[in-house]
């Protein structure tokens, strides 16, 4: 039995059955009133002036962190991307090894989640706004550099050999042939990173690095649900506005440098207003003061039950990927009509809005901690991202086949299954495999609240200042992410489609 393409995005939904059974066994009714009052507070957010001012301040800091980290990582990512391209080095010097060395050298920086960077930098720089910015800048810069280098290397403009044989200089060839070929997808990707940076700065805030995330976490922990919803609604408005602006720039990609310049200006303003950057104090550097002791270092490795920790991390990744991949097509088939797409977009937007640590905490109110619960929290958030990609793909498609199928007498559900779903499945699955790679990095986030996986072990090690264990765990996490990235790339080529430009 070989399922056809439109069924493949639905198959991961089967994992909801065992997950549901496990969660059903873990549910306790005690927290249900709390969850109900959280849901009810959505309709009555707090409108007290002091709360509104506090939330506005939180959003301001989150936005400054977002824009500054996005601006800096975009500029640095472009530079490193050019330097990491084999094609560029071949044009310049006839060699490719510097590009390969740079790529290999940068890969571990990309593999460590921004939250882990944040927690590590917190130990070095102390608590200030630049911790969140640098924590986002490091992985985002390297990720963008990889995307740009890949884009440059995979382009084969027909004019390239013609210009090379005409004796044009490397810079002329680069500017005339290579840059126009990659500009559109790269600028699309840079725009997409802004949305990612906003979500990352919110998550970093949840873990105490300032901004709206911190406010949301504090309000949630003190059960002030109305205040939580004030923040979430205002954040939703901000996200919608940002999305509108990004859509505007998507059709005018040549205008992308404008928000980039604005972001860098914000960096200047931000640093002068609230985000003072103190010179790092070497006294705070944990490894600076730690005595190098090989026995201690080796002993730390044995303190972790690696097979269990790695298996739990992979289980969370797999389950969350299944949930996030299957939910959007399942909802479409439950509600198959063109007019429902905007409403479905709203649902995905709401799921994107709530950071996974908050949704994990909310789920913990009614169920015992488990891998399924952590996976559900992560899966719902990433389902929001996948849902957005899915709806965008559906809206881009021309639905000729739907009309044909309806004319054959097929029901609306069948028409969507055989028509638009079949059409978008290939790029959607390619994006899902890329997303799996992102989810693997994100397991650190729910691990920190869900009590499972590498993230939880890392938090324990950080809390007990066990630096050797921290080092091993960060290294293990990076290695696992790189392996996952490799697998994701192989799967993407299986679908004959790359998710890079998204």
């Amino acid at each position: 039995m070989r399922p056809a393409l439109p069924l493949i995005p639905l198959i991961p939904g089967l994992c909801l059955v065992p997950m549901g059974l496990i969660l059903f066994g873990d549910v306790h009714g005690g927290g249900l009133p709390l969850l109900c009052s959280f849901a009810a507070a959505a309709l009555h957010p707090s409108l007290e002036p002091s709360v509104l001012v506090g939330v506005a301040m939180g959003i301001r800091i989150t936005l400054v962190v977002t824009l500054v980290s996005w601006g800096i990582s975009s500029v640095l990512g472009c530079l490193l991307g050019v330097l990491g391209s084999k094609k560029i080095w071949r044009l310049w010097a006839g060699i490719t090894w510097p590009a390969l060395m740079l790529r290999k050298g940068l890969a571990p920086l990309r593999a460590v989640h921004e939250l882990i960077w944040g927690l590590l930098l917190l130990q070095i720089l102390g608590l200030n706004g630049w911790v969140a910015i640098i924590a986002i800048v490091i992985p985002y810069t390297v990720l963008l550099a990889r995307v740009i280098a890949d884009q440059i290397d995979c382009q084969e403009p027909p004019a390239l050999p013609a210009l090379q044989s005409s004796g044009a200089s490397a810079v002329s060839v680069l500017l005339t042939v290579v840059v126009p070929a990659v500009a559109h997808p790269v600028l699309d990707h840079i725009n997409h990173r802004l949305d990612c940076a906003l979500r990352s700065s919110l998550i970093l805030g949840v873990f105490g690095l300032g901004g709206l995330g911190t406010d949301l976490m504090l309000s949630l922990q003190s059960l002030r649900f109305q205040e939580v919803w004030t923040g979430l609604w205002l954040m939703a408005i901000t996200m919608v506005l940002m999305d509108r602006v990004l859509r505007l720039f998507r059709h005018r990609w040549w205008m992308t440098p404008i928000p980039l310049v604005l972001a860098l200006m914000t960096a200047g303003l931000g640093s002068s207003l609230t985000l003072e950057l103190p010179w790092p104090n070497p006294q705070l550097w944990p490894f600076w003061n730690a005595q190098i002791n090989g026995v201690q270092a080796l002993a730390a490795v044995a303190e972790v039950n690696w097979p269990v920790v790695i298996a739990s991390t992979l289980s969370i990744t797999l389950m969350a990927t299944c949930v996030s991949t299957a939910l959007p097509p399942m909802l479409l088939l439950l509600w198959p009509s063109a007019w429902s797409l905007p409403l479905q977009s709203l649902i995905w937007g709401a799921l994107r809005l709530i950071p996974p640590p908050l949704s994990a905490l909310l789920l913990l109110v009614v169920a015992k901690p488990s891998l399924s619960l952590a996976a559900l929290a992560l899966g719902l958030h990433h389902g929001g991202v996948m849902g957005r990609v899915f709806i965008d793909d559906l809206q881009r498609e021309r639905h000729h086949t739907t009309g044909m199928l309806k004319a054959c007498g097929a029901s609306a559900r069948m028409s969507w299954l055989y028509g638009p779903l079949a059409r978008v499945s290939r790029p959607y699955l390619a994006y899902a495999t890329y997303r799996m790679d992102v989810i693997l990095r994100d397991t650190a986030v729910v691990g920190l609240v869900g009590g499972a996986g590498l993230g939880w072990q890392l938090l324990e090690a950080l809390s007990s200042f066990h630096w050797w264990l921290v080092l091993w765990l960060v290294g293990g996490s990076a290695l696992l992410t790189l392996l996952g990235e490799n697998l994701s790339e192989r799967l993407q080529s299986c679908w004959n489609s790359r998710a890079m430009a998204l």
Binding site: M1, R2, P3, A4, L5, P6, L7, H400, T401, G403, M404, L405, K406, A407, C408, G409, A410, S411, R413, M414, L417, Y418, G419, A422, R423, S425, R426
Partner: protein, 233 residues
Amino acid sequence: MIALLELHQVSLGQRLRPVSLTIRAEERVVLLGASGAGKTTLLNLCNGSLRPEAGTIRWKGYPLQGLKRQQRRCIGTLWQDLRLIDELSVIQNINSGALGRHGLLWAIRNLLGRLEPKVCLELMKEVQLEPALLMRNIQDLSGGQRQRVALARLLRQMPELVLADEPLSALDPPLAKDVLDILLTLPSCVISLHRPELMHRFDRVLGLRNGELVLDASPETVNRQVLEELFAR
């Protein structure tokens, strides 16, 4: 002969001026006209994929837009751009013609490749497609093979009336003859063509010019002068 499709003062802006006509059971109708005359618009109005701005269309006396899905399958269309599902195999495409007669579970079984191929193989034989192509992806087929898959899908639908939009346009003469032979074995059809020399194989000729129905006659009465006027720019 009972009236299958009745159009009364149907119009769609500049694309189609008010048209009234009746298509009866067991009637084979050819629709002639130059490019842009409104042939595709008229056929799309007849199969319900376009809504008229004015006028009414009835299928066996019932308003076309209000038909249930089981009734809609009685009108089959062979689209000019074929509208095959590129992501599916030949058998899955052919079976998609029968979705109107089955439920969602049958549709899923088709996608899982769990349906008996017997009916599809018979249809493939009828349209002269090699059985070896049954499981092939539709994208691997040539233009002529794709045309025949679309025809097999139409036959799988088992419609009472067939609407075919330029079905011979991309085919070589022997294949075009075969396709037309198959279409003319169907009980009732309306086929738009660019080739007036084939009109004698039909019972009735409709002619469109600039969105206006200017000819409705039997083939014997249509002479060369009428055709020249019909195709004049």
